[in-house]
C-alpha cells in the first residue's frame, strides 16, 4: 500500500504542482491570480484525447497541437480578462473577469466534449503496477518543466526579462522592457505549462470537463502553501499535497481526504497567509 500511496501521491502532486506553477507564471508578469489555471490543465487532457484518440493523430503531433491550443487559450485570457482590468488592479476585478473566462471554457468543454469522463490513450506503454507510466509521466513532466523554467529564468535574456518584470514592474518598464509583449508571452507559457500538466496527467485524470474546477482548487493549494510566485514552494507544496491527499485517501477514504485537504488549506492560510516559503506582505498605512 505504501508503494501505491507514493506512486499515486507523487503523480497527483506533480500535476497539482504544475497547475501551481501555471498560476505563478501568470501572476509573475501581471500580479493577477487567474481562475483559468485549472481549466488550462483540464484542456490539456481534453485536447490530448481529442487529437490522439478522436482524430487518431500520433502522440507527438497531438502533444504539440495540445500545447498550441492551450497557449492560444492563455493568450486569449490575457487579451479578454487580464489586460482590461490591469489599470485598476486594487479593485481585484481580475477575480471576476478570469472567473468568467474560466466558466466559459468549462461550459464549452462540457457541451462540445460531453459531461462524461472519456479515456486518454496510453502514450508510451512502459511500466506496470506502481511503475505504470500514468504515475511516472506527470512526475517526469513536472521535473522537466521545472528544469526548463529554471534554465529560462536564469540563463536566457527573455527569462531574465520575466524575472525583472515580476520583481519590479515600474523599474522594468523604465528600462524599456516590452512589458506588454512579455506579459502575453508569459500567458502563452502558462498555457503550455497547464497543457503539459493536463496531457501528462491525462491517463490518471482522464479527459473530463469537471477536472478544471477541481484542479483550480488543488492547484491553488500548493501556491498558498508555497507562497505566491514561488515555483519551488509550489513544487514542494504540490508534492506534499499529493502525498497527503493520497495517504488520507487510502487510510480514511476519499471523502475525508478532501475534507482533510480543505482543513489543511484553511489552517495554513490563517496561520501563514503569505505561505510557508513566502515573503511578508506590504504595509497598509
Amino acid at each position: 500500500m505504501l508503494a501505491s500511496i507514493l506512486a499515486s501521491g507523487l503523480a497527483a502532486g506533480a500535476i497539482y504542482a504544475l497547475v501551481g506553477v501555471t498560476y505563478n507564471t501568470m501572476f509573475s508578469t501581471s500580479r493577477v491570480m487567474s481562475f483559468t489555471a485549472g481549466q488550462l490543465a483540464m484542456l490539456g487532457g481534453v485536447f490530448g484525447s481529442m487529437f490522439t484518440l478522436k482524430l487518431g493523430m500520433p502522440a507527438i503531433a497531438g502533444f504539440v497541437l495540445t500545447l498550441l491550443g492551450c497557449a492560444l487559450i492563455g493568450i486569449i485570457t490575457e487579451y479578454v480578462a487580464v489586460r482590461p482590468v490591469l489599470k485598476s488592479l486594487d479593485q481585484h476585478l481580475y477575480v471576476l473577469s478570469t472567473l468568467a473566462v474560466a466558466l466559459m471554457i468549462q461550459q464549452v468543454a462540457a457541451i462540445k466534449w460531453g459531461t462524461e469522463p472519456q479515456p486518454f490513450p496510453r502514450l508510451i506503454g512502459w511500466g506496470g503496477g506502481v511503475l505504470d507510466e500514468k504515475f511516472w509521466l506527470p512526475v517526469l513532466a513536472c521535473a522537466i518543466t521545472i528544469l526548463g523554467l529554471e534554465y529560462l529564468y536564469r540563463r536566457t535574456l527573455v527569462g531574465r526579462a520575466f524575472v525583472a518584470i515580476a520583481e519590479d514592474n515600474f523599474a522594468a518598464r523604465a528600462l524599456g522592457l516590452p512589458e506588454r509583449n512579455l506579459r502575453i508571452a508569459s500567458y502563452a507559457l502558462a498555457g503550455i505549462i497547464g497543457g503539459v500538466a493536463g496531457f501528462s496527467g491525462g491517463e490518471l485524470l482522464l479527459a473530463f470537463f469537471a477536472n478544471g474546477a477541481l484542479l483550480n482548487f488543488y492547484g491553488f493549494v500548493p501556491v498558498a502553501l508555497g507562497g505566491l510566485g514561488n515555483n519551488r514552494g509550489a513544487v514542494i507544496g504540490g508534492l506534499a499535497l499529493g502525498l497527503f491527499q493520497q495517504a488520507a485517501n487510502f487510510l480514511v477514504g476519499g471523502i475525508f481526504s478532501s475534507v482533510a485537504v480543505f482543513t489543511l488549506f484553511i489552517v495554513v492560510l490563517l496561520t501563514a497567509p503569505q505561505g510557508l516559503f513566502g515573503a511578508s506582505t506590504a504595509r497598509r498605512v
Binding site: 466558466l103 478532501s258 490563517l270
Partner: protein, 603 residues
C-alpha cells in the same frame, strides 16, 4: 441610487415622501408578484417561487458580496446544507421527525453557524484567496452529501419537506415564499441603511479609516455571516420543498454562479439592483428555452461584460441623481463658529488635564530607524505642529499614536491611562480621531454617509435592533444624520451632502475627512498634512477651522509641510529629523533655531 438612504427628522408624511422614490421600485416588484397568481399558471408559480427562494439567499449574500466586498462564490454550499438539514429533520433520519416549521429555524441556526465557519477566513484573506476557500467548501459539502448515505441518502437522495395546508399547493407555497422574501428584503434593507451597513462599506473601501473610527472588522463580519448563512439555509429548506426530492446533483456549482452574478449585475451596495439581477437571471433560461444548456455560459458572458463595461451594474444605471452635473466653481466656506453648537465645550471641563504624552517611543522598519526615542506632549486645547523633512518620521509618529504600528520601545499615555500599542480599533473610544495623508474616503457612498461613518461607535442600537429597525436604531440614525449635517455645515460642504464622494475634488475630500473625525467629538485630533493640495484661500480657511476646533478644548497634532500655516496657528512646534527631535519650542523659537533653519526651513 445608493441604497443607504437617510431619513431626516421630519413629520410622518415628510418621511414617506422622502422615502417614496426609494420604495417605489420595490412596491412595483411586489405588485407584480401579487398580480402573477391572477394571470399565470402553475408553471409560472414554480418560476415565481424559485425566484423568491433565490432572492432569500441572495438578499443575505448581497450583504457579504455587495456591501462587505467579500467574493463568496461558493454559497450553494449553504443552500445545500439548509436543504439537507431541513429534509433530514423532517424525514426523521437521525432523530424523531420535526414539523417543517420547527425544522426551518433549526436549519437557520445550523446555516448561521456554518456561515461563520465559511466566512471566518475572510478576516485574514481577501479576494482570490477567500473566493478559493468558499469554492473549496462548496466541493466538500457536495461530496459529504454524496458519501454520508445513512443520513442524506447519498446519490439516491432524500424527499424534501412537505409544508402543511394551505402551503401545500403551488400558489400557497408561492405566497409563503414571497412573504419570506419580502421579509428578508426588509431586514437586509434595514441593515444596509443602518450604521452596520455603512460600516461594511467602510471596511470594504477604506478599511484603515474604518478602523480609526472604531469599527471592528471581526464583529461586523461575524454578524453579517451569521445572517447570510441563516438566510441561505432557510432558502435551502424552501428549495428542498420546491424540488420535492433532492440529490447532490440538484446543487450544481452553476447555482452558486447564478447567485454571485445576480449581485454583480445588480451592482455593489444596492438592494434593488441584485433583486432585479436575481429576477432576470431566473427568467432568462425560461424565456429562451433553447439556450437552457448554455445558461451558465450566458451568465459568464454577462459577468465579463459587467466587469469590463459597467462595473456599477444595474444600480449605477438607475442612479439618475448622481448624473446631474455639480457646480463647477464651488468654494469651500467653513463656518467654524457653528462648532459651538455641536461639540461639547471642554474649556474648564474635567478633561482639561488629560495630556497625550509619548515617552521614548522607538520604531524601526528593518534597519531603518523610523522613530528613535521620541518624546512628545499634546495638551488639550493646544495646536501642536510636527514638522520635518521627508522621511523624518512624522506620519509614522501619527501611525504609532493611532495604533497602526506598535512601537518597539517607549510608552504612550493619555492622562493616567496607558495607550496600548497596536490596536487601532480602540483609539476612537479613547477620543483620538485622525485624518490621512491621502484622503481615505468611500467613493461609492454619499458625502453625508462618509461623515456619518465617523460616529459609528456612538450608535447604541445592537445588530438585532438594526435588523428589525427598532426605535433605538431609528433614534441613532436621526442623531447621526443630524450631527453629520451640522458638521458638514461647519466645514462648508452642506450643499454636497447627498453627492457621491468620488465626484468631489481633492480639497473637498480633505474637509470631509475633518468632518468625519469631528463626528467622534474627539479629545485629540491628528491631522496628517491637511493643507496638501489646497489653494491659499482654502489653507487660510482651514487655519481658522483648526483654531476653532482647538478653542473647543481639543488637542490638535498637526503634521504639515506648509511652514506658514504651522507658524501661523501652532502653539508649540516639534521638529523631527531622522526620527529624533531636532528642536521643540514655540513657533518664534523654532523660526530662528539654527539647525532647523539649515536642515529644513532653508534661508
Amino acid at each position: 441610487m445608493t441604497a443607504v438612504a437617510t431619513v431626516p427628522p421630519r413629520d410622518d408624511t415628510g418621511v414617506l415622501r422622502a422615502a417614496l422614490p426609494h420604495l417605489a421600485p420595490f412596491l412595483a416588484v411586489f405588485a407584480a408578484a401579487m398580480i402573477l397568481p391572477l394571470v399565470g399558471n402553475d408553471y409560472w408559480a414554480l418560476i415565481g417561487t424559485r425566484m423568491a427562494i433565490y432572492w432569500v439567499l441572495v438578499s443575505g449574500l448581497n450583504l457579504v458580496v455587495g456591501f462587505a466586498g467579500h467574493l463568496a462564490i461558493g454559497y450553494v454550499a449553504l443552500l445545500t446544507l439548509g436543504a439537507y438539514t431541513t429534509s433530514v429533520l423532517v424525514a426523521g433520519n437521525v432523530m424523531p421527525p420535526l414539523p417543517v416549521f420547527a425544522a426551518l429555524p433549526v436549519a437557520a441556526c445550523v446555516g448561521a453557524l456554518f456561515g461563520v465557519i465559511v466566512g471566518l477566513p475572510a478576516l485574514r484573506l481577501r479576494t482570490f484567496y477567500f473566493a478559493m476557500s468558499t469554492l473549496g467548501f462548496a466541493t466538500i459539502v457536495t461530496q459529504i452529501a454524496l458519501a454520508w448515505q445513512s443520513v442524506t441518502g447519498g446519490g439516491i437522495g432524500i424527499a424534501g419537506p412537505e409544508f402543511p395546508a394551505p402551503f401545500n399547493t403551488a400558489w400557497g407555497f408561492y405566497f409563503l415564499c414571497m412573504a419570506i422574501a419580502a421579509f428578508t428584503t426588509w431586514i437586509s434593507a434595514n441593515v444596509a441603511r443602518s450604521r452596520y451597513g455603512r460600516a461594511l462599506i467602510a471596511l470594504r473601501d477604506a478599511e484603515v479609516a474604518a478602523e480609526a473610527t472604531g469599527i471592528s472588522k471581526p464583529k461586523m463580519l461575524i454578524a453579517i455571516f451569521l445572517l447570510a448563512g441563516a438566510l441561505a439555509s432557510v432558502a435551502g429548506g424552501l428549495f428542498a420543498s420546491l424540488q420535492t426530492y433532492i440529490t447532490p446533483d440538484a446543487f450544481t456549482f452553476d447555482l452558486s454562479i447564478l447567485f454571485f452574478i445576480a449581485i454583480l449585475i445588480g451592482g455593489r451596495g444596492s438592494i434593488l439592483g441584485p433583486m432585479l439581477g436575481t429576477i432576470i437571471l431566473t427568467i432568462l433560461p425560461e424565456i429562451a428555452a433553447p439556450l437552457a444548456a448554455w445558461s451558465t455560459f450566458l451568465y459568464a458572458v454577462l459577468l465579463l461584460v459587467i466587469v469590463l463595461v459597467m462595473p456599477g451594474g444595474i444600480a449605477a444605471l438607475l442612479d439618475f441623481r448622481n448624473r446631474r452635473p455639480l457646480a463647477a466653481n464651488r468654494a469651500i466656506v467653513p463656518c467654524p463658529t457653528a462648532l459651538a453648537d455641536i461639540m461639547r465645550g471642554r474649556a474648564g471641563g474635567k478633561t482639561l488635564n488629560k495630556t497625550l504624552a509619548l515617552r521614548g517611543v522607538a520604531l524601526s522598519f528593518g534597519n531603518v530607524r523610523a522613530i528613535d526615542g521620541l518624546d512628545l506632549d499634546v495638551a488639550p486645547g493646544q495646536i501642536h505642529g510636527l514638522i520635518g523633512p521627508n522621511g523624518s518620521g512624522k506620519t509614522t509618529t501619527l501611525n504609532v499614536i493611532s495604533g497602526y504600528y506598535a512601537a518597539r520601545a517607549g510608552t504612550m499615555t493619555l492622562g493616567d491611562d496607558t495607550l496600548p500599542p497596536g490596536l487601532p480599533v480602540l483609539r476612537a473610544a479613547q477620543g483620538i480621531a485622525r485624518t490621512f495623508q491621502t484622503p481615505r474616503v468611500i467613493g461609492e457612498a454619499s458625502v453625508l454617509e462618509n461623515v456619518m461613518i465617523g460616529g459609528s461607535i456612538e450608535g447604541r442600537a445592537s445588530f438585532i435592533e438594526a435588523l428589525l429597525a427598532l426605535p433605538r436604531n431609528r433614534q441613532d440614525e436621526r442623531t447621526l444624520a443630524a450631527k453629520a449635517r451640522a458638521l458638514l455645515g461647519v466645514v462648508g460642504l452642506e450643499g454636497l451632502a447627498e453627492v457621491r464622494a468620488d465626484r468631489l475634488q481633492h480639497s473637498e475630500l480633505r474637509f470631509i475627512e475633518i468632518a468625519r473625525a469631528l463626528m467622534l467629538d474627539p479629545d485629540f485630533l491628528l491631522l496628517d498634512e491637511p493643507a496638501a493640495g489646497l489653494s491659499n484661500d482654502e489653507i487660510a480657511r482651514l487655519a481658522e477651522l483648526i483654531k476653532a476646533i482647538s478653542a473647543r478644548g481639543v488637542g490638535v497634532l498637526l503634521v504639515e509641510h506648509h511652514a506658514d500655516l504651522i507658524f501661523d496657528i501652532c502653539h508649540y512646534v516639534t521638529v523631527l529629523n531622522l526620527g529624533r527631535t531636532l528642536a521643540a519650542g514655540t513657533p518664534a523659537d523654532i523660526r530662528v533655531h539654527k539647525e532647523v533653519v539649515s536642515a529644513y526651513l532653508g534661508g
